[in-house]
Amino acid sequence: MTLLEDLAPPPEVEVKPRAVSRRERWQLRLPLLPALIYTIVVTQIPFLVTLWYSFQSYFWNTPAPAHFNGLANYKTVFTNPAFRGSLVRSVVMTVTAVIVAMILGVFFAVLLDRKFLGRSVVRTLMITPFLVMPVAAALVWAGPMLDPQFGLVNYLLQPFGVHHVAWLSTHALGSVILVMIWQWTPFMMLIVLAGLQSQPSDTLEAAKVDGAGAFATFRELTFPHLRPYIELGVLLGSIYLVNTFDAVKAMTQGGPGTSTTNLPYYLYQQVNNAFDIGGAAATGVVTVILTIIVATFALRMFARVFQFEEA
């Protein structure tokens, strides 16, 4: 909503707006106020509390009350290899999943953009993974699909000489990313499909008349047209996938070792297994700062995407 608001008044207009009285301004603001207050209560106040805890030594498993310990928690965050490891893993998981899901999404969208018998059925089927609850999807993959003894994947791969691969032990990170891709490909596909269907058919016809082949048409016309849609898909996908927790918790519990412990799961473990409230709060604060930095760049891109749209 910020964006639309920003894009609305063209700056060149020199006409001085009619003076808006104080009362009118409040009348305009009032309907937004409940939402604003709610947002502040559920995000900013807890964030301040988290900030407060991040300067405390506070453990749930000892009777000692919380006490101020300065920057010690932050020092631990930055010196702890476990934090760095989980940060790197978060990035690897998100980037791989988003890129692969997007490539597959474009591929399927192009296929689905054609007219064929039963297209709507196929489209519904293709969207299904995105509609499954993440934790249910993770459980289905962890059990019936990837189980080394009873799993469907091993059963199907048996004719190809694959025997009893313990996917969640030997390829844990890959398995988790696989499930993320499986869930998010339909989302990417939907967004790209919307882009494809908004492409004017006359340009395509013109290209055909000019003698462009299918691939050249895609490269020169379709892809540039899709670019903002792809950027939007990448951005939204990254925002959601960087928070992946369900798949990690339900499939590998961060293991084996720490090979699938991403940032959200690391935070969860700090609270739920180490009961280190101060340390977890400090990790959370550092994560927020990093997220803001990344998101600022992403949002600039977001703004550009919409400008592109308008032009």
Binding site: P11, T43, T62, Q149, G255, P256, P264, N272, V288
Partner: protein
């Protein structure tokens, strides 16, 4: 030129989103104080572990019997997996949020919580004035493990040691005999002979990271190989030769002859595997016998039992019990005790027997159960060895050499919760093959070294 406002406002928006995300990740960090206590008198909220004896028996029997018997008391259950249960309870008792008025804990938590003043002294408060409860009947090692300064702070729902389950048919076919008191070397040679990759694993062992999961089994191996977590000066011993030898042995055994994907397996997964005939041997909790008997009758007929394998010590079984305690200051504590005493009583055992048969009765808590002729008959194959296993444990002297701590498959210090998980993760990594045993133990040693001896020894 329209950028600056965009960026500023956008930043604010992102800040909100980011804060929200971080809060979602650590919501349990900030919002603990707001949990309400039960105002509705006569409501008992019980936090329990999702093991078969609880989900399959305790919960349905509570609805069908306890609540009929006491119409004024409403019992609500919160079931968790082992790891989540600990977190939920720890949060609850340490912040006095009193979301639960009955908690299921074990011999690790009970003395620590009692020392911190987080649990009701059951001996003084209730058992002394409730002669029907017969606390003297509790098995001595179990009763002792749940006591602090001589008083009970939790009472056992079921108790267990560890032992070896094996498939008698497979042993016979291979011409092997399992001794009553096997050594780990013998077990390894059996596993080598019985292992048929893709069909039957030589031995099924826990690999899932967690101090109550893979570390429970590994710790018993470490103890009998002469290893220990700390020496008398609280110096971590994870890289000492016996600890390394034991870990190498365990990891190699499970990697060579164990079930595929062991790094994700713990009790419940292994029970399924064993129940489907995928394991020639299975080293786990004695209570598994009860589950095998009730859930997998065909495999039950072929199952033989042996004591926990040893190396340098005479016995090596662990000791655990899932017990019920009442947090200090919990509401409706009278009703809570009614429930606790009902679920851990002899009458409860007869109730289970009526409904599910004697072999399904929660084992390992009361001496009287093991002299009950009905139980002895129904649970004949495993009753005596369970009792023998539990009675041969000594959590106060768990290792070959003296140690400053108590606990067989855990160390009764608050730091162990986190330390045990860290080492468990490393060992799981070694089992999965993502790192070597020496790397894993090196990492464990440095995790243990971050605590000073003074911190570890605490005030006690």
């Amino acid at each position: 030129m329209r950028y600056p406002p965009v960026r500023l406002r956008a930043l604010g928006a992102v800040g909100c989103v980011a804060a929200l995300a971080a809060l979602a990740a650590c919501s349990s960090g900030g919002s603990n104080g707001s949990s309400s206590s039960n105002s509705n008198s006569g409501t008992v909220t019980v936090a329990v572990v999702s093991n078969p004896l609880i989900t399959g028996q305790m919960i349905p029997l509570t609805t069908s019997n306890f609540e009929k018997q006491y119409p004024g008391i409403k019992v609500k259950f919160a079931t968790y997996t082992e790891g989540d249960l600990r977190a939920a309870i720890e949060k609850n008792v340490s912040t006095h949020s009193n979301a639960f008025n009955v908690v299921m804990i074990g011999p690790y938590e009970t003395p620590l919580f009692a020392k911190n003043g987080w649990l009701t002294n059951l001996s003084k408060q209730y058992i002394a004035s409730d002669p029907g409860y017969d606390a003297a009947d509790l098995l001595p090692p179990i009763g002792k493990a749940l006591s602090y300064k001589g008083d009970l702070y939790a009472v056992p729902f079921y108790g267990e040691s560890s032992m070896m389950f094996y498939n008698k048919t497979l042993f016979q076919q291979a011409g092997l005999t399992m001794p009553h008191n096997p050594t780990w070397a013998q077990v390894e040679s059996f596993a080598a002979k019985l292992n048929q990759p893709g069909k039957v694993s030589g031995i099924c062992l826990r690999g899932l990271a967690g101090w109550g999961d893979n570390m429970a089994a590994l710790d018993t191996v470490v103890n009998t190989f002469g290893g220990q977590w700390f020496d008398m000066n609280w110096k971590p011993q994870l890289t000492s030769p016996p600890f390394v030898e034991a870990t190498n042995f365990y990891v190699n055994l499970v990697r060579k002859y164990g079930e595929p994907g062991a790094a994700n397996d713990s009790f419940n997964q292994l029970l399924t595997l064993y129940g489907q005939g995928k394991c020639a041997m299975w080293y786990d909790a004695t209570v598994a016998a009860t589950s095998i008997a009730t859930t997998y009758p065909d495999v039950y007929k072929q199952t033989g039992y042996a004591l926990a394998p040893v190396n340098k010590t005479k016995s090596s079984g662990w000791l655990w019990t899932w017990a019920l305690g009442i947090p200090q200051g919990a509401s409706d504590s009278g009703a809570a005790w009614k429930f606790v005493s009902w679920a851990t009583s002899k009458q409860y055992d007869s109730l289970v027997a009526q409904k599910y048969g004697w072999s399904a009765v929660p084992p390992g808590t009361r001496t009287s159960l093991y002299s009950n002729p009905d139980y002895k008959k129904a649970a004949a194959p495993f009753a005596d060895i369970t009792l023998e296993s539990i009675n041969s444990t000594d959590p106060e002297h768990p290792t070959l050499n003296p140690v400053p701590y108590t606990g067989i498959q855990y160390v009764v210090i608050p730091q162990f919760e986190s330390l045990g998980l860290t080492v468990g993760q490393q060992v799981a990594g070694a089992i999965a093959g993502t790192e070597s045993v020496s790397q894993a133990l090196q990492a464990g040693q440095s995790a243990a070294s971050q605590y000073t001896p003074a911190q570890l020894s605490g005030s006690g």
